[in-house]
């Protein structure tokens, strides 16, 4: 893989920071009870969404699940329309009707999300099938969590994609837990990818907190898919810092330890990338601070936009049903 241009590397940082700051804004605003929908935050997992989406072109598409903010933003979704959606406003990316678990931005290739675990895995395969049937070289990506492999439909999807060599990349964000249940109580082995590759597609497990490692794996998978060589499975090991749903920390529940959380927070994907950029002279600490400020301003603007936006008209209830 040729080395990435400094601007690309900076872009990775900005993307991750946008997700982090946006979700921190949710944390800050949630107690106001104006964001009236369940939110599953990706804080700590930003490198997966960014590493993968940076390997995609604008025509490529992604699908996601309940924890979809990062994928929406990484695939170019509007920050303003995301916050408007969380605030239930008519200007939201789904007119307020979808909410946090169903963010969509078809104009940038984010086709939506299902709150049923693994529900969109076959949909991503279908998007790839459409590309194959039309002879376009668009690639599609299915984002899902470690519990996604527990759903039968994921196995059916993997098998079908492999059988037809479809241009789809399966990205499993293994954050070690499903709600409060650790992986070891649900699955026979700590690695998810071997159970996927049995269906006849290549698979890798990468450090999901290393945006460059994720990018590299994704770029390779996307190139394969675009060349007509079929699907790839990427398992990205990462960690969710906050509670399963909602803005808080939750070590007091006892299903994981403070020590485990601390260890993963020490592997913060943003800081890690920032340090590499600093060491290699791509981004100085001062430049970084400036970028952070820009992103913060963007987020603040999005929140203002959302708050100032109108709620949907009552008639919207009955619109767009069938």
């Amino acid at each position: 893989m040729p080395p990435l241009a400094p601007e690309r590397l900076k872009g990775f940082y900005v993307q991750m920071t946008r997700i982090r700051r946006a979700e921190e804004a949710i944390v800050a605003r949630y107690p106001e009870q104006e964001i009236r929908c369940p939110t599953h935050l990706s804080i700590g997992q930003e490198a997966v969404a960014v590493g993968v989406c940076q390997a995609l072109s604008e025509q490529d598409v992604v699908l996601s699940g309940h924890r979809c903010h990062a994928h929406y933003l990484a695939k170019g979704g509007s920050l303003r329309r995301m916050f408007a959606e969380l605030y239930g406003k008519a200007t939201g990316c789904c007119g307020g009707k979808g909410g946090s678990m169903h963010l969509a931005s078809p104009e940038t290739g984010m086709l939506g999300a299902s709150a049923i675990v693994a529900g969109t895995v076959p949909i991503a395969v279908g998007a790839a099938l459409a590309a194959a049937l039309r002879g376009s070289d668009d690639v599609s990506v299915a984002f899902f969590g470690d519990a996604g492999i527990e759903q039968g439909v994921t196995h059916e999807s993997l098998a079908f994609a492999a059988l037809r060599r479809l241009p789809v990349v399966f990205v499993c964000e293994n954050n070690l837990y499903a709600t409060l249940t650790p992986l070891s109580k649900r699955q026979v082995s700590a690695d998810v990818s071997p159970r996927a590759v049995a269906h006849g597609l290549p698979g890798v497990s990468v450090d999901g907190n290393d945006v460059l490692a994720v990018y590299e794996a994704a770029a390779h998978a996307v190139a394969r898919a675009r060349a007509g060589d079929g699907p790839t499975f990427i398992e990205a090991k990462t960690y969710r810092w906050r509670e399963h749903v909602g803005p808080n920390f939750d070590v007091e529940l006892g299903y994981r330890t403070q020590a485990e959380l601390d260890a993963w927070m020490a592997r913060d994907p943003l800081l890690r990338h920032a340090r590499i950029l600093e060491t290699s002279g791509v981004l100085t600490a001062a430049e970084r601070l400036a970028l952070d400020r820009e992103v913060e301003a963007e987020v603040a603007d999005a929140v203002r936009f959302a708050k100032a936006s109108p709620f949907p008209e009552p008639a919207a209830l009955y619109a767009d049903v069938d």
Binding site: V61, L63, G92, C93, C94, G95, G96, K97, G98, H102, A104, P106, L111, G112, S114, I116, G119, T120, V121, P122, I123, A124, V125, G126, A127, A128, L129, A130, A131, L133, R134, D138, S140, G152, V153, E156, S157, A159, F160, L163, A319, D320, V321, D322
Partner: protein
């Protein structure tokens, strides 16, 4: 007009839709094999080849999601199942995704997806291969459910489904496949949600679905001999359900019998009776009668199948009940006799 069999009408509609719109493709278990879903996908297979008609693994849940994904990317999949019982495997994708994607996206995306599935009956197909599950699908906002009773509607409704930018489930009764009727040669589009008055009458209305339309017509014919004039309405779609047409008829007749191919409780007959009961409250001169499957699974043995399936005789009896006419049920051919036509392994 030229006559076609119901299954030939489906085949023709599929081929015409595919010729007109390159977005349409066909997938499903066995669609491209030599039998081609009782011949309904054979023509398309031969005419359009493996890029437009292809077999799938037995992964109905995923394939439904795959079809949704292809639909979101601008194609129009026609997903075919040999039995609607198999749709139970796909309910998550149908109910939670296909039906809701447009709404959840605030209207920015649509799911043009047509699903065909067959209602089995008879020859001991038993409990898992003979259900008629339209009410379950029709309960779900975002889905359309059509149930053509004639070759003409089999073609016209399927063509409309294949030009509708939303999920449409077409339930085809296996016992209709060999029936013939006039079918126009060119492509035409029968609107969804419009019932058809297929026989005029003044004494009582029978609103029927799918195969039960034929039974209703037979009952009407028998009763005509006794000067009972039965109006027969082919409901044609379960969602949207055209209760207006039924109410207009009931305004005239004051009496209604509903005949459905599914179970009685929570079925099509429930929804229609509830609507008519309210909208035609002042017009109804007798309680609405419901002719439907008894609330039990399908038995295998032909000895019980006979008792399980209501037909013209039961519709006739229900008509008499609404008219408070005393007497024996008319001598409609028994289900058994009609069953002959459909004997053989499937």
């Amino acid at each position: 007009m030229r006559e076609l069999k119901y299954r030939e009408a489906i085949d023709e509609a599929t081929r015409q839709a595919m010729a007109k719109d390159e977005r349409v493709f066909v997938l499903g278990v066995g669609v491209d094999d030599a039998k081609g879903i009782f011949g309904t996908t054979r023509g398309a297979t031969l005419e359009f080849g493996p890029n437009r008609v292809f077999d799938t693994p037995l992964s109905e849940a995923a394939l439904t999601g795959v079809a949704i994904g292809a639909a979101l990317r601008g194609l129009h999949p026609l997903l075919v199942h040999a039995r609607n019982d198999f749709l139970m495997l796909t309910m998550d994708q149908l109910v939670n995704n296909a039906a809701k994607w447009r709404y959840m996206s605030g209207g920015s995306m649509r799911v043009p997806l047509t699903i065909r599935a067959i209602i089995g009956r008879g020859w001991g197909q038993a409990a898992q291969h003979s259900q008629s599950l339209q009410a379950m699908f029709a309960h779900v906002p975002g889905l359309h459910v059509v149930m053509p009773a004639t070759p003409a509607d089999a073609k016209g409704l399927l063509l409309t489904a294949l030009t509708t930018e939303a999920p449409v489930i077409c339930l085809e009764h296996r016992w209709l496949y060999e029936k013939t009727g006039p079918v126009a040669e060119e492509a035409y589009y029968t609107p969804l949600g419009h019932a058809a008055v297929v026989r005029q009458g003044t004494h009582v209305t029978v609103a029927a679905m799918s195969l039960m339309v034929l039974e209703a017509l037979q009952a009407a014919e028998s009763l005509a001999a006794e000067s009972i004039a039965v109006e027969v309405i082919d409901l044609r779609t379960a969602r949207p359900l055209d209760s207006e047409t039924v109410c207009a008829s009931v305004a005239k007749t004051g009496r209604l019998v509903i005949a459905d191919t599914g179970w009685r409780s929570y079925g099509v007959s429930a929804e229609l009776a509830a609507r008519v009961g309210r909208e035609c409250f002042g017009d109804l001169r007798a309680p609405v009668e419901r002719v439907a499957l008894p609330d039990v699974p399908t038995p295998c043995t032909s000895a019980l199948e006979r008792a399980y399936y209501p037909g013209a005789a039961e519709i006739g009896a229900a008509i008499r009940a609404t008219l408070l006419v005393r007497g024996r049920a008319p001598a409609a051919p028994s289900v058994e006799a009609r069953g002959k036509e459909f004997s053989g392994p499937f």
